[in-house]
């Protein structure tokens, strides 16, 4: 048991707990209203939006999983960098439009928009269920971030219920302040979380290269270690990996902005300029992410040996830092899990409340009823995530997370392309979605969940690429062809409840 590290960790953790509960009073609003609880009244400026979207972008799981992938597979793990680079243009171009139509119609979820745009309950349900399914394992994996640092501090290890007690406690605290404070809690905690993470990464980037003999040596040593690893890899991509690298980057970039929690972060901002300015400042996160990915190489160069790759970063820190700073860095990771887990559970419970509960069970629900239901559902969602991690093998959550990325991209035609055109027929969209879901799932199963890269065979040509991208192409082909057929046969396409000018960028002289 590493007491020094643990005490520092505990102090920081208690601090954010107090902050999370205090957040209910911050920019006070009527938290019994859904838009106040789940979107904090759509009033966040550039600064807080930056932390919120940044919190979505790199989570504790990213902190753990990206270096773990780099540690095991080398260069391909760095697709995370072009992925986040491509996120910014998409935010700049697409999200102000999405924000405007959501504001005009008080939409709170992507499925709300689809319901209004395409006049289809079935399609909205498909989008909502996809969002919930994709988000659940993501929340579960945030817990892994907490668990690995607790384990690395020697806090778990005893058997039985005690084994998971610290994790359960941490999550109970998170659940409690999300329940009382709503989105205000992760928004305030995010500021602390990122301060801790930025300090950790900057210190690591100075201290570790000095100890390991510079970046040149780190890359060389990592390359040697990768070549002699169980699955030989390299710090440079082989030409066979180019397409996989590119499709992983572009597919993940679009997928990220379709995740309900990313949409929540965008909708909570107060204007289009706040969103656009974010596209310019979010790259700071990407630089951090690139540096975090390099932790994987540092661990190789530092001769960290572990079969559990999720322990790579904690073990590296234990080897390189004094105890008190280990506690600081571990707190950064654990708090880094709380923020996205809170936003994700709010987004998932919004989807349930707005698009399942109200749509199918209690159509007359008031916004206060919705807020009540959403709060309870956010607890259920977190409990589900906890059970995932405590009761099922970890691999199960990892597989589902991989599937989640593939699934969420299948909402691209209805949600993102739907922002620009209503040419698609609602039934064609639904069938295209179904085809994409099935194709993507089968591809992941065919690869036995070991990789999200599927070698697509066309004639003699074999194209290894991100399964989500292949699936969404199938989805789009089906949607386009069937739309043409349905339109030709004059099948009712429903009424568009949004108007052309709802999407306009009407930013007046709002200065934030």
């Amino acid at each position: 048991m590493n007491w020094t590290a643990f005490i520092v960790f505990l102090i920081l953790f208690l601090f954010v707990t107090v902050l999370g509960f205090w957040a209910a009073r911050w920019r006070r609003g009527d938290l019994t209203e859904l838009s106040e609880w789940s979107l904090a009244g759509r009033q966040f400026g550039t600064f807080i939006t930056w932390f919120l979207i940044g919190g979505d972008l790199y989570t504790a799981y990213t902190f753990i999983a990206v270096p773990a992938l780099v540690f095991g597979a080398g260069a391909v793990g760095f697709f995370a960098v072009p992925y986040t680079i491509l996120v910014f243009p998409i935010i700049f171009l697409v999200m102000p439009r999405f924000w405007a139509v959501a504001k005009a119609h008080n939409y709170m979820t992507p499925a709300d928009f689809v319901r209004g745009r395409f006049d289809s309950r079935g399609l909205a349900l498909a989008v909502a269920v996809t969002g919930i399914l994709a988000t659940m394992p993501y929340i579960a994996l945030q817990l892994v971030g907490i668990q690995v640092v607790l384990e690395a501090m020697g806090l778990v290890g005893s058997v039985g219920i005690l084994h998971d007690l610290p994790l359960i406690l941490a999550f109970a605290i998170l659940a409690a302040y999300t329940y009382t404070s709503g989105l205000r809690a992760p928004a305030t905690v995010a500021v602390v979380k990122d301060t801790l993470i930025y300090i950790t990464v900057i210190v690591a980037m100075i201290v570790i290269p000095i100890k390991l003999g510079g970046f040149g040596h780190i890359f060389q040593a990592a390359n040697v270690a990768l070549l002699h690893g169980p699955k030989p890899a390299s710090i440079l991509l082989s030409p066979k990996g180019y397409l996989a690298f590119a499709t992983l980057a572009v597919g993940s970039a679009f997928a990220l902005l379709l995740y309900p929690h990313a949409v929540t972060g965008v909708f909570a901002s107060k204007g289009q300029n706040a969103i656009k300015r974010n596209a310019a400042f979010l790259p700071l996160y990407s630089i951090m992410l690139a540096l975090i990915a390099i932790f994987g190489y540092m661990a190789l160069a530092a001769h960290v040996h572990t079969k559990v790759t999720s322990l790579v970063v904690p073990l590296l820190f234990l080897k390189m830092f004094p105890s008190w700073f280990v506690g600081f860095a571990f707190a950064a990771i654990a708090i880094g899990a709380l923020v996205p887990a809170a936003i994700m559970s709010i987004a998932a419970s919004n989807l349930f409340t707005r698009n399942i509960y109200r749509e199918y069970f209690v159509p007359k629900a008031t916004t206060k009823d919705e807020a009540r239901v959403a709060k309870v559902v956010s607890l259920v969602v977190k409990l589900g995530a906890l059970l995932f991690i405590v009761a099922l093998p970890l691999q199960f959550a990892i597989n589902l997370q991989l599937l989640g990325g593939i699934w969420i991209l299948q909402t691209l035609p209805s949600v993102m392309i739907g922002l620009y055109t209503r040419w698609f027929h609602r039934t064609a969209l639904l069938l295209g979605w179904a085809v994409g879901m099935v194709v993507g799932t089968l591809m992941a199963v065919a690869e036995a969940f070991k990789s999200s890269v599927y070698p697509l065979q066309i004639g003699h040509l074999i194209l290894p690429g991100y399964a989500a991208v292949w699936a969404v192409l199938a989805n789009l082909i089906v949607t386009v062809v069937l739309t043409a057929v349905f339109r030709a046969s004059h099948w009712d396409a429903g009424t568009d409840h949004t108007a052309y000018q709802d999407y306009d960028e009407y930013e007046t002289s709002v200065v934030s």
Partner: protein, 65 residues
């Protein structure tokens, strides 16, 4: 701002194709040399584009795109 002017400004948005080309043209940057500060080309090129994309966003924002 009249409509024509606003449409012209939206035209600047095509510049956002540049980071896509720069990032998706993997064969052009998947090499190890030239090395900069110990970083193989593949790595510093990507980090450089993080910065360039941020700067591009700022410029397009200030142009009113």
């Amino acid at each position: 701002m009249n409509n024509k002017e606003s449409n012209a400004k939206k035209g600047y948005r095509w510049f956002f194709l540049i980071p896509f080309i720069a990032m998706l043209g993997v064969p052009f940057y998947a090499s190890g040399t030239p090395v900069l500060g110990g970083f193989p080309f593949f790595y510093w090129y990507m980090i450089l584009w993080v910065v360039l994309t941020g700067v591009l966003s700022l410029i397009l924002y200030s142009l009113g795109a």
